[in-house]
Amino acid sequence: MGSQLITAVMVVVGVPAVLIAYIWGTERLISLAPEQWRRRVRPWLWIGPALGFLGFFLVYPTIRTIIRSLYGKSELKPKFVGLDNFRWFFTNADARGALLDNVLWLVFLTLFTVGIGLLVAVLVDRVRYEAWAKSIIFLPLAISMVAAGVIWKFMYDYKPPGVAQTGTLNAAIGTVGLGPIGWLQSPAFRVSTFALIAIMVWMWTGFAMIIISAALKGIDPELLEAARVDGANEWQVFRKVTFPLLGPTLAVVSTTMIITSLKTFDIVYTLTNGNYDTDVIANLMIKQMFTFGDFGRASAVAVVLLLAIVPIMAFNIRQFRAQESVR
């Protein structure tokens, strides 16, 4: 363990030191060149390390995935099948049901995490026990997915009517006389999908809250005072001053949550395996990849996910351009 400790300390101290030295060193180096040339080269030096990591860990596998999606199942004797895997995906009834579920996830997970996160960030800003409140909302994010599964099994547990309920929700609705509901086993009205979405909202609202709160703290109090002095009430202050200033941050959080909703699979996999109309695309992909061993189809689903975020990315570009023009 001693040598491991030394390595770890070396890394924690060394890597930042190396990076700082790299930045400083390259700045000295390019100071030998004319300003024009410096301005062209410097950005690439600064984003170089990041691009290196991203290129190897994310871009290279993605290119392989895109290529793999055009081939068949067999790993030993890959056969080019063109768009067959995509055809399978769009004609499969299971996949279509999963797409619908993903739309529900996308809309409601984003809406609730960002909405409640914003609400909480704004409200706790004004109370003295802010740290406590934030910690409680944040707590679920600190819980691993495995434990979250156990927690919500307790929440959603079902016992037949007439027997003592062990699930918190069924016990709660039992006190007002409503019968026990199988929360995770009800395809009707997509109750089970919403039950799963509720779990993710519970876990991720803290994430949205922390980021929004950090941005909130950065708003110049003078601006808010000026608005109040002009006679605006709190709600108007929020709508006319705070909310617009939080725009970029809300865009970041929303984009992240939308992408998270597209990638969600482990909560669905461990609790229902996609039964009761809860299946999602990412679950299909994982199953194809590791349970059925069909990398061609799994890759096709991954490519569909990549294409699905193109509109979101287009929106983001527009956001930046707008931001730039205002700055």
Binding site: L51, S135, V150, P248, V310
Partner: protein, 301 residues
């Protein structure tokens, strides 16, 4: 205009009188009710697990956790004992630390430089490249396992901590760059302009202006990255576990509390709380950086 100095160490988030308008008592009550209601809703599931972790297995499937507050009391520490007696849990905890700390520090630095460049340097293709970086958020981790593992095997990294440090950096960069760039980009241009008028180049601007003013964002990022790495199981299992079980983190030891048929699941509650202590400590520790005034009213719109 002078360049902002490094901000003073903040205390707990006490409001400055000038920033707050006195709220009418009735409004205050509604505010408190709303906050407390949300807190209760949020804490109930966790509370349920906490109480259940102190109950013996035999009563867990028979009665709800709220019945534990009425006699007969069945409280027990056997679940916690079961977790702590799990072979190798101590080493696993240390491994988790070894994995999580570097895997948080490295992406923080790499992303900081990149975020600054995306925010305050002009170069051809900047916006499109940035959006591509953000778009990489959607790449499913599982699609990267095989090619990366093959490469690691060729370089002899499998089973070592370095493998997961590098991997977590790669996986965490899209979000890190996104978050930091958003924050740095919203800093007031005037501060940078006057700095460059005073003769500061980008390196100085970065270290003297951008970094100190972005502390809340760094704190938030550190919390999230630490948390995700601390709770990660798959990356560690694949890049370390396939070759060397000695270096596995706590998440693996905890997952092993349950047998292949699911028996022993009641230990997971106790395990979850034991494992939660450190990330919560990190959160509380970094909380103090989310204070109004650090940025000094940077966001002027």
């Amino acid at each position: 205009m002078t360049i902002l100095a490094v901000p003073e160490a903040p205390s707990a988030a006490e409001p400055e009188p000038a920033a707050r308008r006195p709220v009418r008592p009735r409004r205050k009550l509604v505010l408190h009710l709303a906050v407390v209601a949300l807190m209760i809703i949020w804490v109930t599931p966790t509370l349920g697990l906490l109480v259940s972790s102190f109950r013996p297995q035999s009563v867990l499937s028979k009665s709800g956790w709220w019945t534990a507050f009425a006699p007969p009391y069945h409280f027990t520490l056997e679940n916690y004992q079961g977790v702590l007696e799990q072979s190798g849990i101590g080493q696993a905890f240390i491994n988790s630390l070894f994995i999580a700390i570097p895997a948080t520090v490295i992406p923080l630095f790499v992303a900081a430089f990149a975020a600054y460049a995306f925010s305050w340097m002009e170069f051809w293709g900047r916006d499109v490249l940035f959006v591509v970086v953000v778009g990489l958020l959607v790449v499913p981790l599982q699609t990267t396992l095989i090619p990366v593992l093959k490469a690691f095997a060729d370089w002899g990294l499998t089973g070592q901590f370095l493998a997961v440090w590098l991997a977590h950096t790669g996986y965490g960069l899209p979000f890190a760059v996104y978050l930091l760039r958003n924050f740095m980009g919203s800093l007031p241009r005037s501060v940078f302009e006057s700095a460059s008028l005073d003769g500061a180049n980008h390196v100085v601007s970065f270290f003297r202006i951008a970094v100190p003013m972005s502390v809340p964002a760094f704190a938030a990022l550190a919390i999230f990255q630490f948390l995700f790495v601390w709770n990660d199981l798959l990356v560690a299992l694949i890049y370390i576990g396939l070759s060397n079980s000695d270096n596995l983190p706590m998440t693996a030891a905890m997952a092993n509390l349950v047998n292949s048929l699911g028996g022993g699941w009641y230990l997971l509650g106790a395990a979850a709380f034991l494992s939660m202590i450190l990330p919560l400590a990190v959160f509380f520790g970094l909380q103090r950086y989310f204070v109004r005034g650090i940025v000094g009213g940077a966001v002027k719109g």
